[in-house]
Amino acid sequence: MIIPNYRLGPIDLVTLLPYIAMLCIIGFILAIVPLLIWIERVVISLMQDRIGPNRVGPRGLLQTIADGIKLFFKEDIQPRAVDVRIYYLAPVLAMIPALTAGATLPFSTVRFRMEDGSVQTFPMVVGNVNIGILFILAMASLQVYGIILAGWSSNNKYSLLGGLRASAQVISYELAMSLAILSAVLMSGSLNLVHVVEAQMNGFWNWNLFAYPPLGFIITVIYLISMVAETNRAPFDLPEAESELIAGFHTEYSSMKFAMFFMGEYASMLVVSGVAVSLWFGGWTSPLPLLDFIPGFIWFLVKLFALFFVYVWLRASLPRLRYDALMNLGWKRMLPTALVILFLIACWNTLRTPQAQDANPVSEITMAPARAAEGER
């Protein structure tokens, strides 16, 4: 599908593309969260041989929307003991990075017919910046502020414990996560997610998942595990463990503020899944070249929902981890494994690089500029 580049004064569609992408992402996140919750409830109830929501709308489809509207009109309780300013700030801080983190995530391509008749392809991405992955990592780690501030400002023991646990867990798994991302960067040689995806085009055998077998596969699994832990989802949902912490850091939150933590959680699930799709599963590209006629965003959505299904599947099948087991897994298993695999990938990569024709001794190449500046001493 080729779109002509409509132009209105100084503004044309190509310039507007990032803003269109922005509206798509924010709109998608806000609109899809009720659907995701519905999917989760239905899938879990099917897995547990229950019926699940079935009253509001067909197959209970409107149940979560009704829940959302209800939450909007519920009383906004403000407990006496809370630290008011931070108490109100926390959900906002949890929400902003969740909504913004998708900014550097490309989810499709659009082809434009330019004025001179040529056809050009543009990625659908808000910020096509060369530090895309770092931006997402930064945003992902900002989310922990919302959580820990919520836990602290509530002045409730359960909230405090939940907030502390959540932050310790998130930062523990962020290490393995960023090391896994680093391996993808090493495979593709760029921090820009658009370039990372473009390096995986033309068929699923080019995906990073299958690069350097089996290292790519192992590091993908590491990323997926830390992705689940990073978003505090089952089986790593200790911060929100209902049975011991009464929902943890948002015990004291009611009405829409409560819903915002929920939405932030689902939004960040979408974002980290989107990152996984872009890094390991070929992003918006089709798995087989002959399926290229299907638009990119459909492939992206399919992969995204597949990962979301994995989330739900994990939640339905696995029991919650003990806290020390969680920490052991993060620090003692995943961190060293990820580092070693990163190193192995670097070695393999070096071996695969063909020898340059006019090979110089190593030291001369790398030290040459510095030596040249020194002149003859």
Partner: protein, 492 residues
């Protein structure tokens, strides 16, 4: 291409540092896993590592293989190598001192020696820095290790206080230094010291002045120059004595060698900073000595005395400012350079010796810290008392000792550089200093001991060897300074 320097040449130049690093890694992991309970291996291995590093450093210095390394970020010239030798000697003496001291106090945790070796390497990096960033990194490596070591006695609340105080103030001073580096970079577009020297003259902006001011604050803190000295007495008193001994020597050497380098390359704009350095030197000499008089605790007294010695060394730095004022000034600058290196050697030997005597005495079970504790020492432990006597005379700058030779060299450099005022203040305050050093001698030798006869000191091989070595060096280089001149003379 033969003759073109490679990465291996660079690595060879810092071989002593690499030896230190490997030794500390081996110690760190070995203590946790391999020889868990056999704690005597730690100091032995540390000594072996330091000796190897020292041997390499001495060989490299004598064979005059100094060169700039790592894309000109390190300047392993004679100054760097000689200061590295001084630091390694300090480390060696301090390891010997710590051996039984730590054992007697149950502080024999495996981290002590790795931390010390790492901080030696940081200090050596500082001395070898040709780039302000490397200088900063060296400073941080040195300081982090020292913060931890100052709080090494975890059950002692004063040790904890010393650690926290040192850490907070040190972090603050590091921020000053870093900001100063940033401003100097902003004014001159370079952080390399050798580049700085050629560019600084045409970049005399308020930014440069502010940057140099902040550099003085940051380095002055490490060197314990008044008014940035507040941490010194508390940290010296609170930290375990073996740490204090090491810290007094290593931090001072590193800070002053770095200062020599920085102000050597800032000499073209000496009009900017000379006044400040002169004022700091006078303040430090006068108040360091005045405050030392009032102390009743030997560790605190030695802390203030270390401040006073920093003042004398500041005189040398002020003299460096005249490096570019004709041949006479150049000669004075060279004298200041070699003289302050000699002085740093002397200071190390006598301070480590003085603390070593305290450590040796502390092997009796109680900590010897108060001047009162030394009362009548000569009656029941004459050899130790005489060692202390030598160190006190040397610290006070009385002729046949090393301290006199060092002080005399700086004095002479200041006179020939035209810093008459500073030279006079230096002479006067040295007389003042003799008072409190001789007070200890008086208490030791001419007063009756309070107790009849305390338990004889448990013999400690490490501490006695260390004290013996320091005393021998103090006297030997005092009588025959030429032996050390051959080393320090390489710097010019």
């Amino acid at each position: 291409m033969p003759g073109s320097p490679t990465i291996w040449d660079d690595l060879t130049l810092i071989l002593p540092l690499i030896v230190l690093w490997i030794t500390s890694f081996v110690l760190l992991l070995g203590d946790v896993v391999v020889w868990k309970k056999n704690r005597d291996l730690n100091p032995i291995l540390a000594i072996v590592g330091t000796l190897i590093a020292l041997g390499i450093a001495v060989y490299q210095t004598i064979s005059l293989t100094g060169d700039k390394a790592f894309a000109r970020s390190l300047n392993m010239d004679a100054l760097a190598q000689v200061s590295m030798i001084a630091l390694l000697v300090t480390g060696l003496l301090a390891i010997l001192l710590a051996w039984t001291y730590l054992k007697n106090r149950g502080l024999e945790r495996g981290e002590y020696y790795p931390l010390m070796l790492l901080s030696v390497s940081g200090a050596a990096l500082m001395g070898a820095a040709n780039d302000l960033i490397v200088l900063f990194i060296g400073l941080e490596i040195l300081s982090f290790a020292l913060y931890v070591m100052a709080g090494f006695s975890r059950s002692d609340i004063r040790s904890e206080e010393a650690s926290i105080k040192y850490f907070l103030l040190g972090a603050f001073a590091s921020a000053f230094l870093l900001y100063g580096i940033a401003l100097v970079y902003g004014a001159t577009q370079t952080t390399q010291l050798s580049e700085l020297a050629s560019r600084v003259h045409s970049a005399q902006t308020p930014m440069l002045v502010a940057g140099i001011g902040l550099l003085i604050v940051g380095l002055g803190f490490k060197a314990a120059v008044i008014p940035f000295h507040q941490w010194t007495p508390d940290v010296y008193e609170g930290a375990p004595t073996s740490v204090t001994a090491y810290m007094a020597g290593a931090a001072k050497i590193a800070a002053f060698v770095a200062m020599l380098r920085v102000f050597d390359s800032l000499a073209p704009v000496s009009s900017v900073w000379l006044g400040a350095i002169q004022a700091l030197a006078v303040l430090t000499m006068v108040f360091g000595n005045l405050l030392a008089i009032a102390q009743t605790n030997v560790k605190r007294m030695l802390a203030y005395s270390s401040i006073a010695h920093a003042g004398y060394l500041m005189v040398a730095i002020a003299t460096l400012a005249h490096r570019l004022d004709g041949p006479r000034g150049a000669q004075a600058g060279e004298l200041a350079m070699t003289g302050s290196l000699f002085y740093l050697f002397a200071y190390t030997f006598m301070t480590l010796g003085a603390f070593g005597v305290l450590i040796y005495l502390s092997n009796r079970g109680k900590d010897y810290q108060q001047i009162e504790d030394l009362r009548g020492l000569v009656r029941h432990d004459p050899r130790t008392a005489y060692a202390m006597l030598f160190f006190m005379l040397s610290l006070g700058g009385i002729p046949p000792t090393m301290g006199f030779m060092g002080k005399w060299q700086i004095f002479y450099a200041a006179l020939s550089g035209g810093e008459i005022m500073l030279a006079i203040v230096m002479a006067l305050t040295s007389v003042m200093a003799a008072f409190y050093y001789l007070k200890i001698v008086y208490v030791m030798c001419f007063e009756e001991p309070r107790e009849a006869a305390p338990a004889p000191a448990q013999f400690s091989f490490g501490a006695s060897l260390s004290v013996l070595l320091s005393a021998a060096a103090t006297i030997l280089f005092g009588i025959m300074p030429g032996l050390l001149y051959t080393l320090t003379g390489l710097v010019r």
